[in-house]
Symmetry: C2
Subunit: 188 residues, 2 copies
DNA sequence: CGCCGAGTTGAACTGAATCAAGAAACGTGG
DNA sequence: CCACGTTTCTTGATTCAGTTCAACTCGGCG
């Protein structure tokens, strides 16, 4: 839990009182490897903080899934568009490794928004952070070649290349597993 | 101005008092067609609301610019990543048509965040909206063909195709002007 | 009227998709 | 802890969408 508070306090000063209100709503939940955290077609009920684990977002499809996000220890995870809009998600979130989440429900978070000074500030910082992440990704998808995007993963997220099956990485980069295999061959 | 208030009130109830505090900080500013709103390399100083006009975001480059965003009447515009982080933007924002903005400066907005109950809520909604926009775009870039992305513009933003030079649309879609010309030929 | 940038068209080229088959790694039950 | 079956990864051949370079047309504006 201290990990979560530290994470917030990188952005904003948090009084003990505000923290107590917020943390009293957090629920700890474990997801073994390969289990589903949010099912495609359901409304996201939680904003979650990852104590430990890896999480993958993907759009399921008969031919092949489209993986578009990974999240790691120490970050927030949520089907955030669904969480905000209360529209069912068109993607599934699963644990790629054994994962431990601290979660706050939608209703509890709304209460905090309404009741505490700090709630909306936290919500704003979370949204801003997610926006920045997506902005970077947009430019990478428009500007960089597939090979460049793969190399970027090395510098930005080395854990990723160790721990995540190539077929998911390939999808995330925006190419087929075959193409990624050939890029790797070319590089080494 | 009423337009801006209406825009906020689609998201949230706004007391006259809160609105007065907020709107007292807004500055009206005009940008003739083809003028620069935010110059590459500068820190974004404003969050702006577009009363009238069209705005283009692009990364300048010797060979060819990369256009990655358009914004229209009735929406917010800002080099928001730069605005949040206070890091100089690596892109330029320009008026594609004669444009009228209502702007709030960074410092004034921070005061509002600090002083009013409603400030952070507004900031949160703005950030959430921008996040949703970028999320959609990510999936479109990963999932759709160039032709599909062009067709999507018809249904989602028909004004765009009328009013914006094809070379900018091509860049936004992620292809060359030549490729877009051929797609158009194929379709009609 | 002449110029210039935008758009179009053609030809050659390239990165990645697709289809297909074999090799390696993985996990599950005996 | 091994053996088997399944999934993942690799490699090859072919096809395709989009790039690049180049030449030409069109339309608007000085």
């Amino acid at each position: 839990m201290q990990q979560i508070r530290d994470n917030f306090e990188r952005m904003i000063k948090l009084s003990d009182e505000d923290w107590n209100i917020f943390s009293s709503k957090l629920i700890r939940q474990e997801f073994p490897k390969k289990t589903t955290i949010l099912q495609n077609g359901h409304v996201e009920g939680y904003l979650s903080f990852i104590e430990k684990g890896i999480v993958r977002y993907y759009i399921p499809s008969e031919n092949k899934d489209l993986t578009f996000t990974f999240v790691f220890d120490g970050e927030f995870t949520s089907g955030y568009d669904s969480f905000i809009t209360r529209i069912p998600a068109n993607y599934t979130i699963e644990a790629l490794a054994d994962t431990v989440l601290w979660r706050i429900s939608y209703n509890d978070l709304q209460d905090i928004y309404a009741e505490t000074e700090i709630g909306n500030t936290i919500g704003r910082f979370a949204s801003e952070g997610l926006f920045l992440k997506k902005s970077k990704r947009e430019l990478s998808l428009l500007n960089d070649s597939a090979e460049q995007r793969y190399l970027n993963l090395f510098t930005e997220q080395p854990q990723l290349i160790q721990k995540i099956p190539q077929k998911y990485l390939a999808s995330y980069i925006g190419i087929t597993p075959q193409a990624l295999s050939r890029i790797r061959k070319r590089i080494y």
